[in-house]
C-alpha cells in the first residue's frame, strides 16, 4: 500500500547519524579495547604496550576470581532485571491503559524525575536511608523485620534495591511505549470473546508488548552488568562487581591490557547471556503460543449434502 520506493532514500539517509554515532562511540572504542587486550603492561611505567602480542591477558582474565565475581554480577543483574520487569509491568500497563491520555505525559515525566539528579547522588541518598542510623533501619528493627540495624546497608539486598531504583525508568519507558501501542480495541475484542482481564493480559497484551519487554530487559540488564557504582556504594564488600574489577585495572593498577581483556570477556559473556535470555523469552512465548496454536492446513470441501449452517449452529 505504501510507496516504498519513495521511502527508501530518506530512510537510508536518516540512518546515517545513527550509524555514525554507533561507529564513533561504540565500534571504535570497542576495537581499541580489543586491541589493547592483546598487549601487555610494559613495566610499572606504562599502561599498555602492543609490542608483544599475545593472548596471555585473556589467560589472566579467565581466573577463578574473575568468574566468581562474574557469577555474582550476573546473578545480581538477572535478579535486578527480573525485579525491574515485575515492578515495571504493572506500572507501565497502568500508565498506558488505565490513565486518561492527558495525564500520561505527566506520569512519564514523573518516572524520569530521579534522573534529574546525578546517578551517584541518588545512590548515596539510599546509603543514608539504609544506614544503621537511618529512619528505615530504626523502623525495621522496631517492628522486628531485621534483627540488627546494620543488616540493611552493605548487603546484597541493598545492592538489589539500588539497582532496581536506578534502572527502573529504563524498564518502564519501553514497556509503556509497547503497551501504549497495543490497540485498545484488541483488549476489548478479547474480553468480548470471553477472556477475563488476566487472560486478556497474558494472551493479547503481553505477547504484543513483547518487543518492548525485550528492549526493556536489554536496556536494563546490560548497564547493570557493567555497573559497579551502585554495588560499591550500597553493597560494601558484598558489592564487588566485574565492573569494579575492570575499573581498578584501568584506574589503579594502570594495567590497560588486562583491564581491556576483562572488558572484552565481560562484553562477550554479556552478549551470550542476552542472546540466551532473548531466546528464552521467545521460547516461552512460543510455548505459550503453542497451547493456543491452530493450524488448519488444507481442508477437503464439505459434504454438499450437509448444509453448513447445521454444523455452525448445531
Amino acid at each position: 500500500m505504501r510507496d516504498r520506493a519513495a521511502r527508501r532514500l530518506p530512510g537510508f539517509v536518516l540512518a546515517v547519524p545513527a550509524w555514525l554515532w554507533l561507529t564513533v562511540f561504540f565500534v571504535v572504542p570497542f576495537l581499541q579495547v580489543a586491541w589493547f587486550s592483546f598487549g601487555e603492561k610494559p613495566g610499572m611505567f606504562g599502561t599498555h604496550s602492543n609490542a608483544v602480542m599475545s593472548l596471555d591477558r585473556y589467560a589472566e582474565a579467565f581466573s577463578p576470581t574473575f568468574f566468581t565475581i562474574f557469577r555474582a554480577t550476573l546473578w545480581m543483574s538477572v535478579l535486578g532485571t527480573v525485579a525491574c520487569l515485575l515492578v515495571a509491568l504493572p506500572a507501565a500497563y497502568f500508565m498506558a491503559l488505565k490513565v486518561p491520555a492527558h495525564r500520561r505525559g505527566l506520569l512519564v515525566a514523573l518516572v524520569m524525575v530521579p534522573y534529574w539528579t546525578s546517578f551517584l547522588i541518588r545512590t548515596i541518598g539510599w546509603k543514608v536511608i539504609l544506614s544503621s542510623e537511618g529512619a528505615l533501619a530504626g523502623f525495621m528493627t522496631d517492628v522486628g523485620l531485621v534483627g540488627d540495624p546494620h543488616d540493611l546497608l552493605n548487603t546484597r539486598g541493598a545492592v538489589l534495591l539500588g539497582l532496581i531504583y536506578n534502572y527502573l525508568p529504563l524498564m518502564i519507558l519501553p514497556l509503556y511505549v509497547a503497551f501504549d501501542r497495543v490497540d485498545n480495541a484488541l483488549g476489548e475484542a478479547s474480553k468480548d470473546l470471553g477472556a477475563g482481564r488476566v487472560r486478556t493480559f497474558f494472551q493479547v497484551t503481553l505477547p504484543l508488548a513483547r518487543p518492548g519487554i525485550i528492549a526493556g530487559v536489554v536496556l536494563v540488564f546490560i548497564p547493570m552488568m557493567g555497573d559497579y557504582v551502585t554495588p560499591a556504594v550500597l553493597g560494601g564488600a558484598k558489592g564487588t562487581m566485574v565492573g569494579s574489577l575492570i575499573a581498578s585495572q584501568f584506574l589503579t593498577a594502570q594495567n590497560w591490557a588486562l583491564g581491556s581483556a576483562m572488558a572484552v570477556v565481560l562484553i562477550l559473556l554479556t552478549m551470550v547471556v542476552v542472546v540466551l535470555a532473548i531466546a528464552l523469552l521467545w521460547g516461552v512465548g512460543w510455548l505459550v503460543h503453542r497451547r493456543t496454536e491452530l493450524v488448519v492446513g488444507t481442508v477437503p470441501p464439505p459434504d454438499p449434502r450437509l448444509p453448513t449452517k447445521e454444523v455452525v449452529t448445531a
Partner: protein, 401 residues
C-alpha cells in the same frame, strides 16, 4: 574502588591515603568526590595515553632552578584534598597562581608522568616513599636545588634520609602516617589491643560490621602484623597461609573495603570495627556526634609506616616556583597548618610542641611515642606484589559471595 590486580610483576605499594584529610568537609561531598572519579572511569579509556614504558630524557638538576625570579604559575599534582587551602592561598599571594590536580593512586600518578615524557605540565608531585627509587631510576623526578630549600633543615632528621632517598636529593617528607583501627565501644564491650584482637572481634561482635582498607597491602598487613611476620615477606608459604585464613575465616564477616571509613560510613555508625589510617580515624572521631563512643587503637605487635614526599617531576615548567613552594610549606608555621588540616604528622621539628600549645585535639593520633614508632615499619616494593593482589582479589570475591 578496588586496588588493582597487578599481574605483571610490577611494584605495588603502600596504602595511600588519598582523601585522608576530609577535615571540615561535608561527608557527602567528600564521598561524591571520590566516587566521581570512579564514575569518570570511561574517561580513562578515551584519554588514551602513549605509555610505552620509555623514560624521559635526562633531566637537569633542580629542573633548571637557579634561584632566579619565581614564575607566575605553579601546578601541583597530588592526592585529592590533601593540602590546607589557606597554605595554598598564602603561597598564591607571594606571586604564582596555583592550580591543583588530583590522583587516586601512585600508579595513576606514575603512568601519567611517564606517558607525558616530561610534558605533563606539573611542577610538584607527591608520591609515596617506596616508589621513589623507581621514579629516580627512570628520570621521572629531578634532583632538588637544595640551596633553594633551606627549610629542609627544619625537618626532624628522624624523617629525613629515608631508605629510598638517603640524602633527600629528590624528595622531602610531606607527611607520614600509620595504620590502626577504630571500634564502636557500644558494640564491642571488651578492650581490643592487638591485630589479633581485631581479627577476633571481626569474627564475633563485629561480624558484618567490619571494614578493611581497600588496599591489597593493607589487608595483607593485617595478617602479617597480627602474626608478627615481616609484612614485606617474600616467602610464598606465608601468603598461602594468609590466603587460607582470609578467604575462609575473614571473608564472611567483612562488610566493606573502605580506605576512608571513619570520615565516611562511620558517621552513620555503619561499621563497628574499622581498619584505618590514623588521620582518617582521628577526623572521623572528631566529627562524630558521640566521639566517646569510638576508640582508636594503634595495635601491636607491629604495624605500618608510610610517608608521602614532595618531589619535582622532570620537565616541570615552573621549577623556581616549585622550589619556592616546597620551602614555603616546610616553614613550621605553614607545616603546622597542613598538619592541622589533614591530621598527619608533617615531620617538622617542634610541631608536636606547637600542637600541644595550641591544643590540637587528639594529638595522640598524630604524634607517636618512640616505642610506638618502633613497631611501625615501611612497606616494600617486592616480588610478592602479584601474590598479594591475587589473595586480595580472592578475598573480595569470597566476601561478595
Amino acid at each position: 574502588m578496588n586496588k588493582p590486580a597487578d599481574k605483571n610483576g610490577n611494584v605495588r605499594i603502600l596504602a595511600s591515603h588519598a582523601g585522608a584529610r576530609a577535615i571540615r568537609q561535608e561527608l557527602s561531598r567528600r564521598h561524591f568526590l571520590s566516587l566521581a572519579a570512579l564514575v569518570g572511569a570511561g574517561a580513562a579509556l578515551s584519554a588514551c595515553g602513549t605509555g610505552d614504558g620509555g623514560s624521559s630524557s635526562a633531566a637537569e638538576p633542580g629542573g633548571g632552578a637557579t634561584g632566579g625570579p619565581v614564575e607566575k604559575a605553579l601546578s601541583i599534582y597530588t592526592w585529592g584534598d590533601y593540602d590546607a587551602p589557606e597554605v595554598i592561598e598564602a603561597f598564591g599571594k607571594t606571586g604564582p597562581k596555583v592550580t591543583l590536580d588530583s590522583y587516586g593512586s601512585n600508579e595513576e600518578l606514575i603512568s601519567k608522568l611517564v606517558a607525558a615524557k616530561g610534558t605533563s605540565g606539573y611542577d610538584i608531585v607527591v608520591p609515596t616513599g617506596v616508589y621513589i627509587p623507581q621514579l629516580i631510576e627512570n628520570d621521572v623526578i629531578v634532583k632538588f636545588n637544595k640551596d633553594l630549600i633551606p627549610n629542609i633543615a627544619k625537618v626532624d632528621p628522624q624523617f629525613l634520609g629515608q631508605d629510598w632517598d638517603p640524602e633527600n636529593d629528590y624528595s622531602v617528607c610531606k607527611d607520614w602516617g600509620t595504620t590502626g583501627f577504630v571500634y564502636d565501644t557500644t558494640v564491642i564491650k571488651r578492650d581490643l589491643k592487638t591485630w589479633d584482637d581485631f581479627i577476633d572481634a571481626m569474627q564475633k561482635e563485629a561480624s558484618g560490621k567490619t571494614s578493611l582498607l581497600d588496599d591489597p597491602q593493607g589487608v595483607a598487613g593485617l595478617y602479617f602484623w597480627a602474626n608478627d611476620i615481616d609484612w614485606n615477606t617474600e616467602d610464598m608459604a606465608d601468603y598461602d597461609a594468609f590466603e587460607a585464613e582470609a578467604v575462609e575465616k575473614w571473608a564472611p564477616h567483612i562488610a566493606a573495603f573502605d580506605s576512608y571509613p571513619s570520615t565516611g560510613a562511620m558517621q552513620e555508625n555503619t561499621f563497628a570495627l574499622m581498619q584505618n589510617w590514623n588521620g582518617d580515624a582521628r577526623l572521623g572521631i572528631l566529627e562524630h556526634k558521640q566521639p566517646d563512643r569510638w576508640k582508636w587503637v594503634l595495635p601491636g605487635p607491629t604495624t605500618e609506616l608510610w610517608m608521602d614526599n614532595w618531589c619535582i617531576p622532570a620537565g616541570a615548567p615552573h621549577p623556581e616556583a616549585a622550589h619556592a613552594f616546597i620551602d614555603f610549606v616546610l616553614e613550621p608555621e605553614n607545616s603546622f597548618k597542613e598538619m592541622d588540616y589533614i591530621g598527619y604528622h608533617t615531620g617538622t621539628l617542634g610541631i608536636e610542641e606547637m600542637a600541644k600549645e595550641r591544643k590540637v585535639e587528639l594529638p595522640e593520633m598524630i604524634f607517636f611515642t618512640e616505642e610506638q614508632l618502633a613497631t611501625m615499619k615501611n612497606g616494600a616494593v617486592n616480588k610478592a606484589q602479584d601474590r598479594r593482589t591475587e589473595v586480595y582479589d580472592k578475598l573480595k570475591a569470597a566476601a561478595s559471595a
